[in-house]
């Protein structure tokens, strides 16, 4: 997917944030103006204001999966709500497909949400009085589709999230995981381009969470949406993300690919998260290969440069000679030494940096 991003780098971003601020409190606007963009959470707090998002700027391109990671109170959900305009940003600009979201009229906003946006919530937020099917059909009916059309489409979605046979259940009759499947199906019913997920799996048991993450990846591989995914779970972020934005006190501390974050944490705060991350689960072969040296004798095994180390480690270690690394066009682009893999697996971070 990252290759795709490069291809589309010149294109217009789907989501674009320019210096977005969200400050809660009565005189938020005045405070922000006088601070000239230099927001210090402490000073604001003393004035009775709470800083939600502090100068956030980034872009998300089509098909990109950006995970916003942060602990509670870091402003990650607030940022998401600014971009879906569930709350109005205090300052800054947000563009959706080049359209100015903040200046958008209510009517246009509703249009946008009805056709382009879908959102999944932490507490599922299903309508308790509607069945699974009615919940999924809800955005379609709101949009004005006929009942028959909506129900048929909803039935397709039920199949997509594998809930067949339970379409006439009420939310209270479902388990948490099943409820979130309904939430996912509902958010996808209108075939949105942009998919917001606000800690969708946080309320679930670890086992179910893993299952749902797999399910999510499966869906994304089929649907290829532009995604903004909020979580407080760093491992989840690593597992799912194309890129991760790590937030603290409203500020985006670092925005990078999972590998770069693990390898090069920008701040002490970020480094703490990466400390006990098993690298082999994050790093791709690419990050530990050496430049091709023609003098070296290579093994018969070839591995893709995009493969996660963990998945190929056993094979690589089984070889006596270094292993060739190839790109998607089967061209050999580098060479992998066993010693590097061992270092990744059993410690010795220093050499990698």
């Amino acid at each position: 997917m990252s290759s795709q991003i490069e291809v589309e780098q010149n294109k217009q971003p789907v989501i674009q944030c320019d210096s977005v601020y969200k400050i809660f409190g009565e005189n938020a606007n005045k405070m922000l103006q006088s601070s000239k963009g230099e927001v210090d959470a402490k000073i604001f707090q003393d004035a009775g204001c709470v800083v939600g998002v502090n100068n956030a700027s980034f872009e998300v391109y089509k098909g990109d999966l950006l995970v916003v990671m942060g602990l509670s109170g870091s402003g990650k959900s607030t940022l998401l709500r600014c971009i879906s305009r569930l709350t109005d940003a205090t300052a800054g600009n947000i563009y959706i497909d080049g359209q100015d979201l903040i200046a958008m009229s209510n009517k246009k906003l509703i249009e946008l949400r009805r056709n382009k946006m879908g959102m999944v919530f932490q507490s599922f937020a299903l309508l308790p009085h509607k069945t699974v099917l009615e919940n999924i059909a809800f955005p379609l009916q709101i949009r004005g589709n006929s009942t028959e059309e909506s129900i048929n489409r909803a039935m397709e979605m039920v199949k997509l999230v594998v809930l067949e046979g339970r379409e006439n259940y009420f939310p209270r009759q479902l388990s948490g995981g099943q409820q979130q499947r309904v939430g996912i199906a509902r958010s996808l019913a209108v075939e949105p381009d942009i998919w917001f997920l606000d800690e969708p799996f946080s309320a679930l048991d670890p086992l179910i969470r893993k299952e749902m993450q797999d399910e999510f990846l499966r869906l994304q591989s089929v649907l290829n949406k532009t995604i903004l995914f909020v979580t407080h779970d760093f491992h989840e972020a690593l597992r799912l993300a194309d890129r991760i934005a790590i937030m603290k006190d409203g500020i985006i501390e670092q925005l990078d690919t999972p590998a770069d974050i693990v390898l090069n944490p920008a701040t002490e705060y970020v480094r703490k998260f990466t400390e006990d991350v098993p690298r082999e689960k994050v790093l791709k072969i690419e990050s530990v290969m050496d430049a091709l040296d023609s003098s070296e004798e290579l093994s018969d095994l070839k591995v893709s440069k995009d493969a996660i180390i963990e998945t190929v480690a056993e094979e690589v270690l089984g070889q006596e000679k270094p292993v060739a690394v190839i790109d998607s066009n089967k061209k050999v682009v580098g060479v992998l030494h066993r010693s590097h893999v061992i270092k990744v697996l059993f410690g010795g971070r220093g050499t990698l940096e």
């Binding site: 009805r114 937020a125 069945t131 955005p139 009942t147 939430g183 958010s187």
Partner: protein, 686 residues
Amino acid sequence: MDYSSKHSKLLQFIFLLVVFLLLCQFIVPSENNFLWRFPPLIKDLPFLINDTVEYFMFEWMPIEIYDPEIEEFEKSPLIQEVTRAISGAMLFFIELIREIFIGGVKTIVAFTSWDFVSENKWARWPALPWTVVAGGAVLLGYKLQGKGLAILASFSTIYISVFGQWEPAMETLSFVLIAAPISFFLGLALGVWSYKSKKVEATLNPLLNVAQTMPHFSYIVPIMVFFGVGDHAGAIATIIFATPPMVRLTLLGLKRVSPEVLEAGMMSGCNNFQLMFKVLIPTARRDILIGVNQVIMQCLAMAVIASFIGAKGLGFNLLLALNGLRIGQALEQGICIVLIAVLLDKMSLAWANKKIDYFADLSFLERHKFSLLFLAIFLVSTILAYIGTFFFKEGFNYLYIVPHNKGITAETFLQAGVDWVWDTFFFSLKAFNVFLIQQVLMPMKAAYLSMPVAATFVLTMGIGYIVGGIRSALIVGGFLLFIALTEWWDRALITAYMLTFGVIVSGIIGMTLGSLCAQNKLTSKIIILACDTFQTFPSFIYLIPVIMLFGVTDTSVLIAVIVFATIPATRYTVEGLNNVPPSLNDAGLMSGVTRIQRWSKIQLPLAFPHMMLGINQTVVFALFMVIIGAMIGTDDLGQFILKALSDKNGVGNGLTLGLCVAFIGLAVDQIIRTWANERKQILGIA
């Protein structure tokens, strides 16, 4: 910290009590001593209200209206014309529903004229045979929920018909079917409005408080002046009484909708309208449905009082039966009222909970099975009714309509029961009655009346201060000041004495009964059902037996008060105890507490704030009944409200007295509510 603050509060209370007693001791009772009684500075308020109302109603903006009946032009004030138009519209719908059930000419008159109807004897709307209505109700019950509701519907309709209460029951039903939906929509609209605007919520809140605590008798005359006499006036009085709980519960429900559900609605692309009606209101349905239940209960509880200003039906007949001391008959009619209430309540609930099946591929017959069945019922019943004309020669066709009081009756049986109670208990009760009056009630009343006004203020405001700080003290003081400045302070003290006694006794009974019943799921259910029944059962019915047993005394009034006010005390106790988290009960069990310990150490403290809200409702109910007690004979505010019905400035007197009563209730409410909220916060169950 907790211990010391508790301690200091106790000290404050003791200090307050000492000051209070000293004031009582040293203030000289004399008319000129304003520490003893405030001068009635606002005694002209009733006149002012009266003159203002009459000016607007009878003089302001007169327009010329031609009255064809007397062939003259007449001046009629604008407001009167407007209220008359509203009345007319409501009356039309009430009559329409009524005539569908029991026939009549009014609807036809509305589209033609009385002349037309007089000249054309065929122009009458025929009554539906009662079997059609009953069958329809059963069918509806089955369609909405199934067998259970169908059985309830058939039992209720057959009971009503067989006992010869069909016509009055349908008359009552027709006005409830108008009043209840109006209260529902009005309450929903106001609830939604106050959800949207904090300002509206803040303005509406005191109005609702007053509407809920103001005695009905006090606004009967104003309603009559504005809207006239008739079923519509009864319906309006009912709406004023039934709407506030609906507003409250709607607001509560909407506030409890999780913000994520709201956001989910927004992200689904709802506009404001869709957000409100497709997301918020359906999600808040649990509370809103409790509101519907309350609306229906209140509507039927008002059936009797509504008959004071012209509502026809069971309420009026009940009053008439009581006046002839025919308690058995009144009981039968009271049961009809309860049955209608329960049936309507269950039906509205079932309707709200109905599911839609999208995939059912039904044949024409299946899809229209209920319409077809109803058609069949209609035809069969009509034919039966027709055949009936050949069988029943005395003019009563029992297959068409069982005429009023011509059905079977258990009156003699019920009457015998009442007489038995009387014969068995009278003399033992009499000794008790004499003791209670001479040793408890008379001294208590005298003590209340001997309180100097300054001492009363110090005591009440002091309690307000200790419980809720300076704000509560000022609110309580403000309410009492209004009463103290009218000429009815002594009357209010008598009301307060009866209120205090009633609330203490009901509280003790209710909490004990509630605690006992809450120990077990089945008994909890039974007691809640009993509460529902007694809440709709017209309180007037037990006034008469009580008078016969205890005479026209305060005992009678207080017994009626206690019977009624124990309902909320019991209900809230059961609810409060049942809501204690089971994990805490388990924890208690594991640490080996006995049943009594569990109740006193775990359940009671946790349920106490909720139970105090029950006491709050007990105060409201008790106040309501103390005022109704004027129908037995009291010398408190209630008697003056009753008297206002015939006063020259009845509107002003009624409303001012009503406010006095409402303010007593609100002052108590302020203290209890503040306290309960604080406790809840401390216990972390807010």
